[in-house]
């Protein structure tokens, strides 16, 4: 499967571009406190079913960008549209995942997963969502762990549970803030493959912030390379490796060439 340049969509082999889900244009963020320009004129579109990563040196504003996209922090200027509606605050159709699993230790795994429903719609709605939560847990291979407390889960299992919590409200977009960077490398590789599978099965549109080049390349349809001070998009790189991706692809010349290209961009910025 090779893709034409103007068509970044990953789903299907059709030539018509997929519907845009997330549209950002002219986005800037200046922190009033220290007049730091975190983001400067960022424009970005996520299409349905697409997996996009953002990579860049620390201070390039990638976390700020994710917070704005999640409605957790307001932009200074620009347009942020999700499903045709401006993002003005946290929304139930935005799923988010952090570096830490942040499961509440006094709730069982399944209670943690329905927590977003419980917070927004109350206990009765949460109870009604239990079966769906169980299906999600089965999807990530945690079906048998629904009623244990998070203290008994390993780091990788806890992150898989937090994937379920993110998916329970059927969000239009998944925002992933370095979700596996606290895990050991072997677990991390495994979780990345799991993430790919889950995204495929749920046809998710995902946006990943990471500082791992290999992780970004193996998962993404497109990588947004950012530069710091001010945070700007340097280049968008299409990743036309075939899907499904496998860990063996890391050893292919094509993978190497993509990594080398992005590393070159980042090194050039560092040298400036």
């Amino acid at each position: 499967m090779t893709m034409a340049k103007p068509c970044p969509a990953a789903v299907g082999a059709t030539s018509t571009p997929a519907r845009p889900v997330y549209e950002i244009s002219g986005l800037s963020k200046t922190y009033a406190r220290n007049r730091l320009v975190a983001l400067d004129d960022v424009t970005l579109t996520l299409r349905e079913g697409e997996f996009v990563s953002v990579i860049g040196s620390s201070g390039c504003g990638k976390s700020t960008l994710l917070k704005i996209m999640a409605g957790l922090s307001p932009p200074t200027r620009g347009r942020v549209m999700l499903e045709g509606r401006p993002v003005q605050g946290p929304r139930s159709d935005i799923g988010i995942m952090f570096q830490q699993a942040t499961l509440l230790p006094w709730k069982t795994t399944i209670e943690n997963i329905v927590l977003p429903i419980e917070i927004r719609e109350g206990k009765a709605a949460a109870k009604a969502a239990m079966q769906k939560a169980l299906d999600l847990l089965t999807l990530v291979g945690l079906g048998d762990f629904a009623h244990v407390y998070p203290g008994e889960l390993s780091g990788g299992m806890a992150q898989r549970a937090s994937i379920c919590r993110m998916l329970i409200a059927e969000p239009a977009v998944l925002l992933l803030d370095e979700p596996f960077s606290a895990l050991d490398e072997l677990t991390r590789d495994f979780m990345n493959m799991e993430l790919q599978r889950i995204c495929r099965e749920t046809k998710a549109t995902a946006f990943l912030v990471t500082h791992s080049l290999a992780e970004a390349v193996i998962l993404s349809d497109r990588i947004v390379v950012m530069r710091a001070r001010p945070g700007r998009v340097m280049e968008e790189v299409e990743i036309d490796l075939p899907r499904p991706r496998t860990l063996e692809m890391i050893n292919t010349p094509k993978f190497g060439a993509i990594v080398a290209h992005i590393r070159g961009l980042l090194d050039r910025e560092a040298a400036e």
């Binding site: 957790l72 988010i96 952090f98 699993a101 998070p150 203290g151 889960l153 390993s154 806890a158 606290a182």
Partner: protein
């Protein structure tokens, strides 16, 4: 090869390393505690038997035991000492309850609101640094020689650790946990009740344990200074009559009350904060 390991040659080229376990590690806890007790009482007995210390300063273990039995009999037969212990128990109970209520509310005010943190906290810190026992005469002047002045002093002493630990507990939620609740659209009240308070519970219980010790000290100090019918007054009377074995016996029974309160808190903590038994692995990293 460290000092604690022993090298045994098992033949056939294999090497077996056996870790040496020290004697104190290998014995059960009750035995270790019992041994120390026997040794300590032995030394105590020797010191009094040889007449190195006046019996007014340090009574012999035998005399103390006799008084322990005497006081114990009085307590279990519902004598005047039981009445005194009941008075002190009530003082401690009410003081602890009041300290818990006021301390928790002030702690939430300080930990949750900017007003509390910026305006109220400095005053609390200032009062906390004062020797709180010095307020005893004031409480007696305001509330009289009855139980209420003792309750006030004990509650006053026990409130501060609860305020501080409650506030600290409310700050304990991590950045990701706060972000998660924000992303879920949780209201401030939901975030407080469903995230910050439960996360803060282990901290609050630490404060409660300190308060349990403080409330005992406050109640007894109050009874020393303000008279009344409590156990503290009994101890003071016996001390002024140079009845040292009686003082020893009374203190031992009093410590049971303190232990009861302390372990009630520990028990409650185990029941309520059931998830904090071990490392919060996986869950909260």
């Amino acid at each position: 090869m460290t000092d604690a390991t022993q090298h045994i040659d098992a033949g056939e080229g294999d090497t077996v390393w056996v870790e040496e376990v020290s004697l104190i590690d290998s014995m059960p806890r009750w035995l270790a505690m019992g041994l120390l007790f026997v040794v300590a009482v032995g030394i105590w007995d020797l010191v009094t038997r040889m007449g190195w210390v006046s019996p007014i300063i340090l009574p012999s273990p035998g005399e103390t035991l006799a008084d322990l039995i005497f006081v114990g009999r009085n307590l279990f037969t519902g004598g005047y000492m039981l009445e005194a212990l009941w008075t002190t128990t009530q003082t401690v109970f009410w003081a602890f309850l009041i300290a818990l209520g006021i301390g928790f509310l002030l702690g939430v005010l300080v930990g949750e609101t900017k007003f509390g943190e910026r305006a109220v906290l400095p005053y609390l810190v200032a009062i906390d640094t004062m020797p709180k026992v010095a307020f005893a005469p004031l409480f007696i002047a305001w509330l009289g020689f009855g139980i209420s002045s003792k309750v006030a002093l004990a509650a006053f002493i026990a409130t501060f650790p609860i305020v501080v630990s409650t506030a600290a507990g409310l700050y304990a939620a991590s950045e990701s946990e706060r972000m998660l609740f924000k992303a879920m659209g949780a209201t401030r009240m939901q975030t407080l009740l469903r995230l910050k308070l439960p996360i803060g519970l282990p901290y609050m219980f630490t404060g409660l344990k300190i308060a349990a010790v403080g409330v005992m000290a406050g109640a007894i100090t109050g009874e020393f200074l303000g008279g009344g019918k409590g156990f503290g007054a009994l101890i003071r009377q016996s001390a002024s009559q140079m009845d040292t074995p009686r003082v020893f016996a009374l203190i031992l029974y009093l410590s049971l009350l303190g232990l009861l309160l302390y372990f009630t808190v520990v028990w409650a903590q185990r029941r309520i904060v059931f998830w904090n038994k071990e490392e919060r692995a996986g869950g909260l990293g």
